[in-house]
Symmetry: C2
Subunit: 244 residues, 2 copies
DNA sequence: GATTATGATTTGTGATCACACTTGCTTTGA
DNA sequence: TCAAAGCAAGTGTGATCACAAATCATAATC
């Protein structure tokens, strides 16, 4: 399978060596910005500058501007007519729009995954649930970052089983777009002594374990919808208050 | 609404003048490459070089490399481990994957559009149908380019009515990904004295005119599926021939 | 004669510079 | 006192250069 150029009897050596992997600076910048966006480290409507990010990431402007361009095409960022870029602001319409798309596409992905996940994969996501419980057990410090990360791992572990190289990047794009909004909701959840997210996740796992695609889709929709409807109400009441 | 900086009594002049619009070179390169991709001007598996494209488009490498980066994140192009980029090759799995995603997402878009399209919009897409008929009437020259363009206009005119700023970019990405494949199919159609695409389109228009979302979705699925299943059979028979 | 080594050419990546546009502040003039 | 002009700092865009890695053709070696 490997290139023949490694020589005749170098397979033995090659088996011992891990591929070194040449990640470009641009890739690192891109990943870092993605992480920040999904994690909600940037606020909606916040303006980003190339030189500012380059300084923060300790590189030159070149990798940053290319990474920004990529994020703009994914709609994770927005190019203003002034040619400055910002993270898209939250509006009611956009919230509903994102929710609908996520339920549609992630629902399809989990329905596909339900038919394809074996005990091996189920065990994998149960591990993540266990980690979640562990984290909640010692809840002195509300580690929102960790919550976000675990939630992400849980969902994408499932989506990866759907076997679609087309759907997964779309889902990533949707997470990128809803990341900055969701963070706001999760914060508010944490403060409001929320209903535990784990319940929703457990329901998803049950459906997957019994290969029930329909139930999985429903449970997932419920899980996704929660922060969205929460945020929706918050926005609406804020708008009502502005009116008065 | 306009900037106050235009002065006091310059509104009269401003009304006469069209905004000049400052498109960047990168934007033009990007659009041009998109057009080429959707139109199927590049073959699957074809390798593209930055300097080569820059020469062809008569610019420097800078706008090209950024445009390529954007297309790669949309999965319209593929970055090889060698760091060269190519248009993704066709495989059976990828074909099925793309078809499923397109039926899912474009189906949702047309279902939404069905409830929102008024007589005004219906008339718009009927105009496109008329252009199509006109083109077919004088069919001395099989103008595949024009077929592709009209087909695209027809579909996106509908999708634009769905009112979702999230779904439309995803659909564009899907067209970008399936463009190089579809072109192959359309060529083959033209040669094979095809069943007229217009029939399928007319069925879609009928469903939309009666606001029948379900029928519209079905008709659209049939329209989209045609070139895919055609290509699928072609690929399979080719694979079978290779076996022998 | 097949495989490996060597060198030239090509290609992507990142840094830097020049230029144009934007923005915010100061100054000017009525 | 206030709006318009002018100025300065900041910012995105595109061109160019330096460098490293890849590719390909040729030569050397077993």
């Amino acid at each position: 399978m490997q290139k023949a150029a490694v020589g005749k009897n170098n397979e033995a050596i090659a088996a011992q060596l891990a591929p070194v992997g040449r990640e470009t600076v641009q890739d690192r910048v891109y990943s870092e910005l993605r992480r920040a966006l999904i994690g909600g480290l940037f606020e909606p409507s916040q303006v980003l500058t190339i030189r500012g990010l380059a300084d923060a990431l300790v590189t030159s402007t070149m990798p940053v501007r290319e990474a920004l361009g990529r994020l703009i095409t994914e709609k994770a960022l927005e190019a203003l007519p002034n040619r400055s870029v910002r993270v898209p602001p939250i509006t009611l319409e956009r919230l509903d729009d994102l929710l609908r798309a996520r339920v549609l596409i992630e629902g399809e992905a989990i329905a596909l995954a339900a038919a394809r996940m074996g005990p091996r994969q189920i065990a994998g996501i149960e591990t993540i649930l266990a980690e979640w419980d562990e984290m909640r057990a010692l809840k002195h410090k509300k580690d929102v970052d960790r919550e976000v990360t675990l939630n992400q791992s849980f969902h994408f572990e499932i989506y990866r089983s759907c076997g679609s190289a087309v759907l997964i990047p779309m889902i990533e794009s949707l997470w990128l777009q809803s990341g900055p909004c969701i963070r706001v909701a999760i914060y508010a959840f944490s403060e409001a002594g929320e209903v535990d997210t784990a319940q929703y996740h457990r329901r998803i796992v049950e459906a997957l374990a019994t290969q029930d695609a329909h139930a999985a889709r429903e449970a997932l929709a419920a899980d996704i919808s929660r922060p969205f409807t929460f945020l929706r109400n918050k926005l609406q009441s804020a708008a009502a208050k502005d009116q008065t």
